[in-house]
Symmetry: C2
DNA sequence: GGCGTATAGTTACTTAGGTAACTAATTATG
DNA sequence: CATAATTAGTTACCTAAGTAACTATACGCC
């Protein structure tokens, strides 16, 4: 039973990101790029470490994703006193893509949540948070 | 709220596989290799398509993982009438590693499940299965 | 102030997962 | 029976995520 749980969980994660990637392909993004853009929209500017901590993803992964977004002109450098850090923010184009992608993600998630019981979702979130806490 | 749910979910998956990989490193496996070996133990022999369908992972991914396990001598070729297919099974060494890894995985999952409410887990599995079904 | 430590990022290398396009073998069909 | 369609697997190339080891800058402290 325990194994079944984690198995189900891993399969769902893969299917979910796969489908989300398919949806986001319309606006030329991958799901991890979307998460990063979403974060930048909310916090305006950030360092790579900020993003790494927030998304709970290692720094080298963030470096790569940021590089790709910068090459595509969605991200800009923001001056900073601390010369170690690389502070970034969205460009105009980045803001536009945020808007487009936002619609896509919203409708995707709504279609998935449609008809789900509120209490089931809340309970599931609680369980997952608890398990995540136990991992550390 | 919806976004929070998926966000939590993705983070948990990453943390989970990360920790599972750490545990399995003791016996020299990655979590995806473990899933494949587990499947082969249960079904004795299988084609790559069988595995692909069961794990819900694309064929090229299976090809790579199988190649690695074969190079390490954990998997052997099994003769087949259909000359298109590559039928495989565990070697002696593969069986040994299965045993060692099995203990590691079991104790890891038990430590994670310890103290969890049975009803919460059941409810969570149901929710995840439902969401996965809606993805298709 | 200088030196040791901590922090921010990067580089190189690993596995994992995906798509697209391909080969080879089998099955279906006209 | 010959040809078309399907199936099994592979190859090439993409992003994602991880670890280990590294550089460069900033900070703490004696």
């Amino acid at each position: 039973m325990e194994r079944s749980f984690f198995h189900q969980h891993l399969q769902f994660s893969r299917s979910f990101t796969k489908k989300l990637n398919e949806q986001l392909a319309e606006v030329g993004l991958y799901h991890s790029q979307w998460l990063l853009i979403y974060y930048l929209k909310e916090f305006e500017t950030a360092t790579l470490v900020d993003i790494s901590n927030y998304l709970d993803v290692e720094k080298p992964t963030i470096t790569r994703t940021v590089n790709r977004l910068e090459e595509r002109g969605l991200i800009r450098k923001v001056p900073s006193k601390d010369r170690r850090e690389r502070r970034i923010g969205l460009t105009e184009k980045g803001n536009e893509v945020y808007g487009e992608a936002g619609k896509v993600v919203k409708s995707f998630e709504q279609s998935l949540m449609e008809g789900m019981q509120e209490t089931e979702i809340v309970s599931t979130i609680r369980t997952i948070q608890l398990l995540k806490k136990k991992l550390n």
